[in-house]
């Protein structure tokens, strides 16, 4: 199988590293697997015989790779000419319009290329359209890393809960806000101080709005609702309140009553992201940058998954999606 990586930032590069370091694992699924191209906004590298991943990982910019770098070449051009069977779309998330991810994914699926993405934007904006396109072209479209990073929520439901109906989902879906609220809970710091520390430790972007105001968690609620509960919801359908107004006094009052305040996303009759009181012995009561997803289904009843929701651990989910496609296409052949 020939693969391309579109978007070569933190995630794209990390995936290339894992594909290189775990080439023995990849070979068990497909002995002929190779990455034939990578691209970013500056251009792309394409080599029909497959890229030298060790060399690629030593570059700082794609242009350092050498002759095969096509300066100014677009990702669409790479998708067009690469003849790839699989694309990992790892461009930056833009939740306003999902671009450029939506265009790249549509293009790939339209050409019969399987797609893996950790990019929330396209799924928030065009979930139905993209999944319909994948179905029409008979392609796999996997996005495990979009919600709760390394936590295998979609894989679990797809593989292990095939006959279950998911009735309710609640979860701590944003590691940054959980880190801030945990700091306030354990160290009795103010919101402002906890946020500053999260920024210094690079857990949070300088513009904290995306995390603190619940935008990121809302995107995940939309994806979970559409993917696991067959809903057709948009970002604006979710009632959203972030953690900016949570004071130290409130956290302390909650703590005295054996609760922790957490930013919780809920999907049932309503769609909501809001600070909630979580009993300290509740399975959702996880701390630090951990995420937790609590599923309620008709047969299995309650299942909780806990793990790291962002950062370097997410590559596990992207890598597993790639291997899943290799396995499926192998068994289909």
């Amino acid at each position: 199988m020939k693969a391309i990586i579109v978007g070569f930032g933190f995630m794209g590069r990390d995936l290339a590293r894992v594909l290189h370091e775990k080439s023995d694992v990849v070979a068990k699924f497909d002995g002929k697997f190779k990455v034939v191209g990578v691209s970013n906004s500056k251009g792309y590298i394409y080599e029909k015989k497959g890229l030298d991943l060790e060399k690629l990982l030593k570059t700082e910019a794609l242009s350092d790779y050498g002759k095969s770098f096509n300066a100014g070449g677009s990702s669409l051009e790479l998708i067009e000419k690469s003849g790839a069977d699989l694309m990992v779309e790892a461009t930056l998330t833009r939740i306003q319009d999902g671009e450029p991810g939506v265009t790249f994914i549509k293009e790939a699926l339209g050409k019969g290329i399987h797609v893996v993405t950790p990019n929330k934007g396209p799924l928030v904006v065009a979930f139905k359209e993209l999944t319909a396109s994948a179905e029409k072209s008979g392609c796999e479209f996997l996005y495990e890393a979009t919600v709760a990073g390394a936590v295998p929520v979609f894989s679990l439901v797809r593989e292990c809960l095939q006959g279950d109906k998911v009735q309710r989902i609640s979860g701590i879906l944003n590691g940054t806000t959980n880190y801030i609220l945990s700091k306030m809970y354990f160290e009795e710091t103010s919101f402002e101080l906890a946020l500053k520390e999260a920024q210094e430790r690079r857990i949070c972007e300088r513009d904290s709005t995306y995390d603190v105001d619940g935008i990121d968690a809302t995107c995940k609620v939309v994806i979970l609702a559409n993917a696991l509960m067959k809903r057709n919801v948009k970002f604006g359908d979710v009632e959203r309140l972030g953690i900016r107004g949570i004071t130290q006094e409130a956290v302390s009052l909650a703590k005295k009553a054996n609760y922790a305040i957490k930013l919780v996303g809920t999907i049932d009759g309503n769609l909501q992201v809001a600070p909630k009181l979580v009993p300290i012995n509740h399975p959702l009561c996880v701390h630090g940058t951990l995420n937790a997803v609590h599923l309620e289904t008709d047969l299995a009843k309650e299942i909780t998954l806990v793990g790291y929701g962002a950062g370097k651990e997410s590559v596990s989910a992207v890598f597993n999606d790639v291997l899943t496609i290799l396995k499926k296409t192998k068994s289909a052949a």
Binding site: L241, I246, S252, A257, P275, K276, V278
Partner: protein, 156 residues
């Protein structure tokens, strides 16, 4: 609908059986029965029952039938299933308005205020709410908190 009913029965054989007949006849289901024979008073013993009836009408009919049989009714009240709701309100607000808001069959069982006069004022409330009214009560509290520019943090 569940009801807590206490009857005073003559401490004589057959009287309990006789008293149970109208319950069955009017569609009642006996969930529990305690025949307190060790507590007789002037020849009568209290019998406490938890009964499930399809409606209030069935209970009323049963009570009429029991009275016709000369069975004294000591107590008959609906059992309301309640849920304890804990919530925190953040922001300076009119506490009197909050406390005086009346919700059907709801009791405030806990109330704690932190820094009431500051911008960071917080109120923790514990309410005992009829289980079927939890959503309504939370909805109303949400409306009040919005009016007061406060944040409502309810439990999961």
């Amino acid at each position: 609908m569940k009801y807590d009913v206490t009857l005073a029965l003559a401490d004589k054989p057959g009287h309990l059986l006789k008293a149970l007949e109208p319950i069955a006849k009017n569609g009642g289901n006996i969930i529990s029965i305690i025949h307190e024979r060790e507590k007789p008073a002037e020849g009568f013993v209290p019998v406490s029952l938890v009964l499930d009836f399809p409606s209030k009408w069935n209970l009323r009919k049963t009570i009429d039938d029991l009275k016709a049989l000369d069975v004294a009714i000591i107590k008959s009240e609906e059992i309301i299933e309640t849920t304890t709701v804990t919530l925190i309100l953040i922001g300076k607000m009119d506490l009197k308005k909050l406390i005086e808001t009346k919700f059907e069959n709801t009791r405030i069982t806990g109330f704690e205020v932190s820094a009431p006069s500051s911008k960071e004022a917080c109120v923790k409330m514990e309410l005992e709410v009829p289980t079927n009214l939890v959503e309504t009560v939370l909805g109303e509290l949400k409306r009040i908190s919005k009016e007061e520019n406060a944040i409502l943090v309810s439990s999961v």
